[in-house]
Every structure is written in C-alpha cells, then in structure tokens.
C-alpha cells in the first residue's frame, strides 16, 4: 500500500509522561480516518506531531514517503531544519478545537492572507479562492465580518475554509466541534460531510462524535494510553469491538449521552 502518511514507532513524552507509545499507523491516500479515545489518550498529540506543532522523541513520521522530522544532508541523516519542515508543512492542513482565527482580520482576509503571504499568490487570485471556499462552507454573506461578530459554528467554518485554501493533501481535524454549543455542531459536521464525499482529501479526524465518525470514516482508530488498542471498519469496531478496553470506552461514551 502506498501510504500517504505513515507513523513508524512514534513515541512522544512530556517529561516523565509518555503520551504516545511506539505508535504505528499507515494511512492511505484519500482515506478518511477517525481517531477516538479518552482524554489524555494521545489523540490530539498524534495530530500535532504530524502538523509539526510537537516534536517526536522516538520513531519517525513519513509523509508521501519522505521523513518529516529527519532529512539527508551530505549522505548523513540529521534532524530536519526549518526549511525542510516548511516544505513538508505545505502538504498538511489543520483545523483546531479553538478555531484560532486571526481576530484582527475579517473572515475573508483570514482565508486569503495565508494564500497571498505564504503561497505567494497574487491578491486578486487569493481573494477569488477565498470567496469560493467561504461560499462552499456557506458563509458567502459574512465575508467582511470579524471573528468576534461570528458564532462559534461560523468561526469554525471559516477556519476550515482557511485551512483548505492552502490546498493541502492531508487535512487534520482536532476535535473541531468540542468547543461548540450543541446546536452549532451540526452546521460544522455538514461541511465535513461534504468534504468527505466530494473530495479526494486524506482526512484524519479526532472526534467525540461517535455517530458522525461511524458515518463518514473508512477506518476508526481507538487510542488508549498512547497506543492503538484497536482499529478497523466503523461497523465492525462499533458493533463488535474485539478489545475489552474498546468495549469499556464505547459503553462509557454511549451511556453519557
């Protein structure tokens, strides 16, 4: 299988705390993977190491066959420098739980500024792309609004448009509905649903929304204590979990509803 992303024995520690324990995970191009697990199981960290927001203490992550955190220099393998990381980063996009929109920019500018500044695309074309994407997420009438004037759901949709505008091959979603009021969750999930069905994007989605994960994921990965306890097709994992811990987790999540 030609994996577009491959985690090879990835270990991440914060001081004495082991958050990721030799994780191995292959993700195929165009695959939609849902990552579930309890708080502290390492789900967000997994995403963040791929997005280069956290370093890895052991192992390596390969993106399109190339190592992320190491590189070749003069026939030797060394730690990746900033230029290498920046090159790899262009392939990956991320949407955050707290949206992290730039408060001093309008919705439109939030989306076109990175395109213009980082990708070097001319302002007019950048704005065109931004309008297209904001329309796709249903915010064509909020182009000139500032984040403070938008609801949580709207802000998150702008954040999705912003990440997509950079045309990444791989999109990461880090619990993007967890900070939203319940009635706003639906509009965001709809956008993700649309993305999943209409695009060939590789998507890794960390979520608590089990029904949603079941609906759109090709594969569900259950993380427990920094390790992959179980993974498989949604119907199999949710209905007939093989692992006892998976069963316990699913029961606690479903009971809480």
């Amino acid at each position: 299988m030609n994996s577009i992303v491959r985690f090879c024995n990835v270990t991440k520690t914060f001081g004495k705390l082991v958050v990721l324990d030799s994780v191995n995970l292959d993700i195929a191009e165009g695959e939609k993977v849902a990552v579930i697990g309890a708080s502290g199981s390492g789900k967000s960290t997994l995403l963040r190491t791929l997005m280069t927001l956290e370093t890895v203490n052991g192992g390596e992550i390969e993106v399109e066959g190339e190592p992320l955190w190491h590189m070749r220099r003069n026939d030797k393998v060394v730690s990746a420098d900033e230029a290498h990381l920046r090159r790899m980063r262009t392939k990956i996009g991320m949407v955050f739980q707290q949206f992290n929109l730039f408060p001093h920019m309008t919705a439109l500018r939030n989306v076109y500024d990175p395109v213009m500044t980082v990708l070097g695309i001319g302002k007019e074309k950048a704005i065109e792309r931004a309008v297209e994407l904001l329309t796709m997420v249903g915010l064509e009438d909020k182009l000139n609004a500032f984040p403070a004037q938008l609801s949580g759901g709207q802000q998150q949709r702008v954040a999705i448009a912003r990440a997509l505008a950079m045309r990444p091959r791989i999109m990461l979603f880090d619990e993007i509905t967890s900070a939203l009021d319940p009635e706003l969750v639906g509009e965001v999930l709809n956008v993700i649903r649309k993305l999943a069905h209409e695009h060939d994007l590789t998507m890794i989605i960390v979520t608590h929304e089990m029904r949603f994960a079941r609906e759109i994921a090709d594969r569900v990965v259950f993380l427990d204590g920094g390790r992959i306890a179980e993974q498989g097709e949604p119907s199999q994992l949710f209905e007939n979990p093989l692992n006892e811990r998976t069963r316990v987790f699913l029961r606690s999540v479903l009971e809480a509803r």
Partner: protein, 216 residues
C-alpha cells in the same frame, strides 16, 4: 514670593526656542526607543542562545544603571575609539537606548499576551517567522501596549534635562544659562518647572483619551 514678572516675560522667547530642541530630542529618542525596543523584544524570543543571552544581558545592564553614566559613556568614551558624535546625537542615542530597554519589556508583555493558539494557527498555515510576526502576532500585540509606550514618551520628555550634562542646549540648560547671566534664578527655574508640568498634564489627558479610544 519675589517674582519679577517682567523678567519672566522677557526670557520666554529664549525658553520657547530651547523647548523646540527639547521636543526634537524627545521625539527622535522615542523613535529610537520604539524601534529598537521592538527589535530587542523579538530578539529575546529567538531560538538561538547566541542572540538571546547578549540581549538579556544588555537590557539588564542598561536598565539597572543611571542614564547619566550612559550619556557620559557615549559622549566621553566613544571619541577615544574614534567615534565623535555631536552632543544632540549622543543625547538622542543615549536616551533612546536607555528607554529601549523599557519599551522592550512593554513589547514583550504585549507579545506574550497573544494567545498560544494564534502562534499554532500561523505555524500550521506555514507562515514564515517574519510574516508570522508582521501579519499575525504584532497586529495583536502592539495596540494594547500603546498607552504604556505613551507613558514612556512622557518620561523621556522629563529626562531630557539630563542632556544638559553633555552640553545639549535644551530647555533646562538654557534656563540655567539665563539664570547665571544675572544671577536671577527664581524666574527661569520656575518657568521651566511650569512648562514641564504643563506639557506633562496635557499629555496625560491626551494619553487617557487615547487609551479610551483604543479600548473600543
């Protein structure tokens, strides 16, 4: 108090002229402090120890030692290594350098108050370090600290009399010269005090107004 109003009126023109020098010195020094302070604040966050440590050392030393000594240093020591600057320039550089250590702390506070998520979003979007600061971080960090910068502008204005020690003919020095001409100290000194007080009170009002407008 024996105050000779006629004498006071007669020296106002000379004092007014000298005030211009004072204002020029303040503005130029503030420009130095504002720009250099920002560079120091950003440099302090550098990942390279070779940049961070010298900056921290520099800031600590300049902040903890008298401005007067630093002015003497610039004015008396530099000529010995071949650099002779006119008094006004030395004064502006000295004053600006001294206060850049204060403004750098102000900028630092502003930068640190920007939420961590902003840095992460900018990194995820692959902004270069330069663009990260210019388009995302600084536009959020600087507006809240402008009142604090304004306070330092006023402080610098009040410190300009020190430039007299390196022969800059600013307001205080001029008053001193006038006074020693006829040994009449009361009027010049009092007038200078009132001028400083007046400017200070006006600027404080202006600053409060600015604060209120920025808080919108």
């Amino acid at each position: 108090m024996p105050f000779d109003w006629d004498f006071a009126k007669s020296i106002l023109p000379r004092l007014a002229e000298a005030s211009i020098i004072t204002v020029q010195a303040t503005v130029c020094a503030f420009a130095v402090a504002a720009v250099l302070g920002l560079m120091l604040a950003i440099g302090r966050r550098s990942q390279y120890r070779e940049i961070r440590f010298p900056i921290i050392g520099f800031v600590e030393v300049i902040r903890s030692t008298p401005l007067l000594i630093q002015l003497y240093f610039l004015f008396f020591v530099l000529p010995h290594v071949g650099v002779t600057l006119p008094p006004f320039t030395s004064g502006v550089i000295g004053l600006g350098l001294h206060y850049s250590t204060y403004t750098s702390e102000v900028y630092r506070a502003g930068i640190e108050s920007v939420p961590k998520g902003q840095w992460e979003a900018a990194l995820a979007l692959n902004y270069s370090r330069y663009h990260m600061f210019r388009r995302v971080i600084l536009p959020q960090a600087i507006p809240p600290v402008i009142p604090a910068l304004g306070n330092y502008l006023i402080s610098m204005f009040k410190d300009t009399p020190l430039l007299a020690a390196i022969t800059v003919m600013e307001l205080m020095h001029t008053a001193n010269v006038i006074a020693s001409e006829r040994f009449l100290y009361v009027e010049p000194m009092t007038l200078v005090g009132l001028i400083f007080l007046g400017v200070s009170v006006i600027s404080v009002f202006f600053l409060r107004y600015l604060e209120r407008r920025l808080a919108r």
